[in-house]
C-alpha cells in the first residue's frame, strides 16, 4: 500500500513538473516571469544561433544586393555608405525630425487607442451601440487616409493637430475591432460562475472582460502601432508648409533629388517602427505572460 501511495505522489509531482515545463512562460511562485530564455543552459546555447543567424544572413544578402544595384544605378538609389555618411554628417537634424514624428505617433496613437478601446467597451456592454455607430466607423475605415489627410490640413492648419488626428484615425479602427472581439470573447463558464454570484456589470468587466480582452488588445496594437507611423508620415507628406518630421524630410529631400537624405529618413522611419514594435513586445511579455500566445490572432 505504501508503495502505491509513493508512486501516486510521484505521479502527481511529475505531472506538475511536466505542466510547468511545457508552459515555459509560466512563473514559479507569485513572481511575474522574466523573459523566457534569458538563462539558457550552455548545452542549449547553439539554439540561440538558430534564432538570430537566419535573419542576419537575409539582411546581409539584401544589403549586398542593394549595394550592387546602387553602384549600377547611381541616380536612382544611393549606396549604403552614402546613406550612413548622410546620417553621420548631421545627426542633430535627423534626431530633431525623428522626435517630431515620434511625438506625433505617441500622442496620436495614444488618443486612437484610448478612444478605440473605450468605444469598444461601450459597444460590448450595449449591443445597440454597435448597431448604431459601427456602420459609421466602417465608412471612416474604408475612406483612404491619404485622401482624408489633405482635408484635415485644410481644416486644422499646418500645425501638429492634423498629424495627431490622422495618426489617431488609422490606429482607431484596428483597436476598436480587436478590443471588441476581446471583450466579447470571455470564457462562458467563468461568466456563468460570476453571474451565479450576481456579480455586477462593472465587476464582470473589471475581473473578467477587461483582463480577458488583453490578448486581443495586444494583437490590435501589433497592427495599429506600425500603422500609426504610416499615419504620421502621410500627414507630414501633405502638410507642405510644415518642415519637421521624417515624413516631411522624405518629401523635401526627394523633391530636391537628394537621395541619401531621402533614404536616410526612410531608414529612420524603419528604425522608429522597429523600436515601437519591440517596445510593444516587451510590454506584452510583462502584461500577458499568462496567455500562451497561440490564442492571439496575429
Amino acid at each position: 500500500m505504501t508503495e502505491v501511495r509513493v508512486r501516486g505522489a510521484q505521479l502527481t509531482a511529475t505531472e506538475a513538473t511536466a505542466t510547468v515545463g511545457t508552459a515555459s512562460a509560466v512563473p514559479s511562485g507569485r513572481r511575474k516571469p522574466r523573459h523566457p530564455g534569458r538563462h539558457v543552459p550552455a548545452s542549449r546555447r547553439w539554439y540561440k544561433w538558430r534564432i538570430w543567424l537566419p535573419p542576419a544572413v537575409t539582411f546581409v544578402i539584401v544589403a549586398v544586393v542593394w549595394q550592387l544595384l546602387a553602384l549600377a544605378n547611381p541616380y536612382v538609389i544611393p549606396t549604403i555608405d552614402a546613406i550612413v555618411a548622410s546620417l553621420l554628417r548631421d545627426p542633430q537634424m535627423y534626431w530633431v525630425n525623428m522626435l517630431v514624428t515620434l511625438q506625433e505617433v505617441v500622442i496620436g496613437a495614444t488618443a486612437g487607442i484610448l478612444v478605440g478601446f473605450l468605444i469598444a467597451v461601450v459597444m460590448a456592454e450595449f449591443e445597440i451601440m454597435e448597431r448604431a455607430v459601427m456602420p459609421l466607423f466602417v465608412v471612416i475605415m474604408v475612406t483612404p487616409i491619404v485622401a482624408i489627410a489633405p482635408a484635415l490640413v485644410v481644416a486644422f492648419g499646418f500645425g501638429m493637430m492634423p498629424k495627431y488626428i490622422v495618426t489617431a484615425l488609422v490606429v482607431f479602427f484596428p483597436m476598436l475591432v480587436n478590443s471588441l472581439a476581446g471583450l466579447r470573447d470571455v470564457d462562458q463558464r467563468t461568466l456563468d460562475v460570476m453571474r451565479t454570484l450576481h456579480a455586477s456589470r462593472w465587476e464582470i468587466f473589471r475581473d473578467l472582460r477587461f483582463p480577458g480582452s488583453m490578448p486581443f488588445v495586444f494583437a490590435g496594437l501589433r497592427v495599429a502601432l506600425p500603422l500609426a507611423i504610416v499615419g504620421a508620415a502621410v500627414a507630414e507628406f501633405v502638410a507642405a508648409g510644415q518642415q519637421a518630421g521624417l515624413g516631411s524630410l522624405v518629401t523635401i529631400a526627394a523633391a530636391q533629388a537628394n537621395l541619401p537624405v531621402t533614404w536616410a529618413s526612410i531608414v529612420l522611419l524603419c528604425v522608429l517602427g522597429v523600436l515601437i514594435v519591440s517596445f510593444l513586445a516587451l510590454v506584452r511579455n510583462r502584461v500577458l505572460w499568462w496567455s500562451d500566445g497561440e490564442t492571439v490572432a496575429r
Partner: protein
C-alpha cells in the same frame, strides 16, 4: 495529514485531498450554514421551513413556435439541506438546462425553483448558490488564491453576516496548500478542478451545483478527485446537485440518483442510495454497490430510445 485514519484505502484517498476535520473554522453541519447566510430574519425563518432546493413543475422549451422542443417537462425535485443528489441521463435529457435554471442562468418557462425558500433571483443576489462548471473556468491571470477569493470580491453587498471560510485553510484541506501562489496553468487538470470546487465552497453557499466537474479528467484522476470531493463533503455537508455521466460516480457520491429521460427531458425515476456513510473506495467492491449499479444501468437502458443508445454509450460504458 490526519493520523487517525483507519483504512489504508481511505488514506489513499486522503493522500489526494487531505482533510483537517478538526479545523477551528469548520462550520457545523448544514443547518447552521444555511442560517448564517440568509440576509434577513424572514429569510432565516423561511430557510428553516423550506431548506435546500425545491424544484416544482419546472418546464422549459427552446426554439421558435413552429419548431419548439420541450427540454424540461414538469420537473419536480427537492434536495434537502446536506443532501447529495446526482442527476444522470442520456444526452439531451435536459440535465444541464435544469442546472442552468437552478443557477439562475436561464429562466424557466414555468414552475418554480427556490433555494432555502428564496426564489432563484433572490438566491443569487444573496450568493447562496455555488457553481462548479464542467471546465475549471479559472482566470489564468490570477493565482490559485486569487481565483478562490473571487466570490468574496464580487457582489460584496451579500457578504454581510456570512461566515466566509479562510481561503488558505480551505485550499490546504483540498491538498492545494503548496499551490496557493501558483497560476492555473501550472496545475494539472485535477488540481485545477479542485481549485474550482474550493472557489464554490469558500463563500459557504446553501447549495452547490456541479456540472460534470470531473468529465474532462482521465479515469484514474477522476476517481481520485471524486473521493477527495466525497471526503470533503462528508465533513462539510451541503446540498449538492451533481450532474454526471458516470454510474459509479453517482452511486459513490449520492444519497439519491435522479435518472432523467430525454425528449422531452423528464425525471424517469429517483433511486435511493442507501449505502452507509462515510463511504470509501472499499465500497466499490461491495455487493450492495454492484446491485445498485445494476439497477441504475437497467433504468438508464430503459429510458434510452433505440436511436439514442450510441450517444449515451460513452456515459454508461464506464466499468469497474
Amino acid at each position: 495529514m490526519p493520523a487517525q485514519q483507519q483504512h489504508d484505502q481511505q488514506r489513499l484517498a486522503h493522500e489526494a485531498m487531505p482533510l483537517d476535520e478538526g479545523g477551528p473554522t469548520r462550520a457545523p453541519l448544514a443547518g447552521a450554514g444555511a442560517g448564517s447566510q440568509a440576509a434577513t430574519e424572514a429569510a432565516v425563518q423561511a430557510a428553516a421551513r423550506t431548506g435546500g432546493v425545491r424544484i416544482s413543475n419546472v418546464s422549459k422549451s427552446f426554439g421558435t413556435d413552429e419548431s419548439r422542443t420541450l427540454v424540461l417537462d414538469g420537473i419536480d425535485l427537492s434536495v434537502g439541506m446536506g443532501e447529495f443528489v446526482s442527476v444522470i441521463g442520456p444526452s439531451g435529457c435536459g440535465k444541464s438546462t435544469l442546472l442552468k435554471v437552478i443557477a439562475g442562468l436561464t429562466d424557466a418557462d414555468g414552475g418554480e425553483v427556490t433555494v432555502d425558500g428564496n426564489p432563484v433571483s433572490a438566491a443569487t443576489k444573496n450568493k447562496m448558490i455555488g457553481l462548479v462548471p464542467q471546465s475549471p473556468a479559472l482566470m489564468p491571470w490570477r493565482t490559485v488564491l486569487d481565483n478562490v477569493t473571487l466570490p468574496m470580491s464580487v457582489n460584496r453587498g451579500a457578504n454581510g453576516g456570512r461566515s466566509m471560510r479562510d481561503p488558505v485553510e480551505l485550499l490546504e484541506s483540498f491538498g492545494l496548500g503548496h499551490a496557493i501562489d501558483k497560476y492555473p496553468a501550472q496545475l494539472s487538470g485535477g488540481m485545477q478542478q479542485r481549485v474550482a470546487i474550493a472557489r464554490a465552497f469558500v463563500f459557504d453557499p446553501s447549495v452547490l451545483l456541479m456540472d460534470e466537474p470531473f468529465s474532462a479528467l482521465d479515469e484514474m484522476n477522476r476517481d481520485q478527485q471524486r473521493m477527495g470531493l466525497l471526503d470533503f463533503w462528508q465533513s462539510n455537508r451541503k446540498a449538492v446537485i451533481f450532474i454526471t455521466h458516470s454510474v459509479p460516480e453517482a452511486i459513490m457520491l449520492s444519497d439519491r440518483i435522479v435518472v432523467m429521460a430525454a425528449h422531452p427531458g423528464r425525471i424517469a425515476e429517483i433511486i435511493d442510495v442507501d449505502l452507509p456513510r462515510p463511504r470509501s473506495v472499499d465500497d466499490y467492491a461491495t455487493d450492495e454497490f454492484r446491485d445498485l449499479e445494476g439497477i441504475v444501468r437497467a433504468k438508464l437502458r430503459a429510458v434510452m430510445e433505440p436511436g439514442a443508445a450510441d450517444a449515451a454509450a460513452g456515459g454508461t460504458g464506464e466499468t469497474r
